[in-house]
Point group: C2
Chain length 107, copies 2
C-alpha cells in the first residue's frame, strides 16, 4: 500500500473504526489491520498524531484509563464526528466514482 494513496482518507478510516465502540490507539491499529485483512498495518507515528488532530478538530473525545497497569487513552466519536463520518463516506463514494470513470471510461 503506497503511503500517498492513503492521504486524505485516513480520517475516514479512523472515524469508521470508532463508530460503534470507543477504542484506544493501539486497538485502533489492530482493528484496521483486522478489517483490512492485514493490509493496513499503520505505524504509531501515523495513528497517534492523526487521533490528536481529529480530537482537536472536535470529531473525537478522549479519556485516560489504566488497564492491567498500562495507561490507555481511549477515543470515542463526538456528534460532530458522526456527522463527519457520514460526510466522509459520501465523499469516498463520489471519489471512487470519479477516479473510476477516468481510469476505466465506459464507452
Amino acid at each position: 500500500m503506497n503511503a500517498d494513496a492513503l492521504r486524505g482518507h485516513l480520517d475516514a478510516l479512523l472515524l469508521s473504526v470508532l463508530e460503534h465502540e470507543p477504542r484506544h490507539g493501539y486497538a485502533i491499529i489492530e482493528a484496521l489491520r483486522d478489517r483490512s485483512g492485514g493490509v493496513l498495518d499503520l505505524p504509531t507515528g501515523t495513528i497517534y498524531p492523526a487521533l490528536r488532530r481529529l480530537e482537536r478538530a472536535g470529531f473525537l473525545a478522549s479519556e485516560w484509563a489504566t488497564v492491567g497497569g498500562r495507561r490507555r487513552r481511549t477515543y470515542r466519536l463526538t456528534g460532530a464526528g458522526r456527522a463527519e463520518l457520514a460526510g466522509e463516506r459520501s465523499a469516498w463514494t463520489s471519489f471512487t466514482s470519479v477516479i473510476g470513470s477516468v481510469l476505466n471510461p465506459s464507452r
Copy 2:
C-alpha cells in the same frame, strides 16, 4: 474534490488519459474534465510538473510541435508507462477494496 484525496492517484489518471492517444498538457486537463463530468478541473501547476515527473520516471515521452502558431509539448506513453498503468489500475482496485472494507465492513 479535496486536494489530498487525489494524492498518489494523479499518475494513474494521467497515464490513463494518454493510453489510446498522445496529448499535450492543455488537452490532458480538458480530457480529465470531460471524463470526470467536470469534477476534475486540475490547475496547470499540478499537471505540468506531474507530466515532467512521469517523463523523468520513464513512463512518458514528449516532443514539441507547433500547431496554429502555438507551441505544444505532446506526451505519449512508453512501454514502461503501459506497464505502470496496468499496475496502477490493479493497485486502484485493491485500494478501493481495502478502504471500502474498513469504511463499510460487512458483518
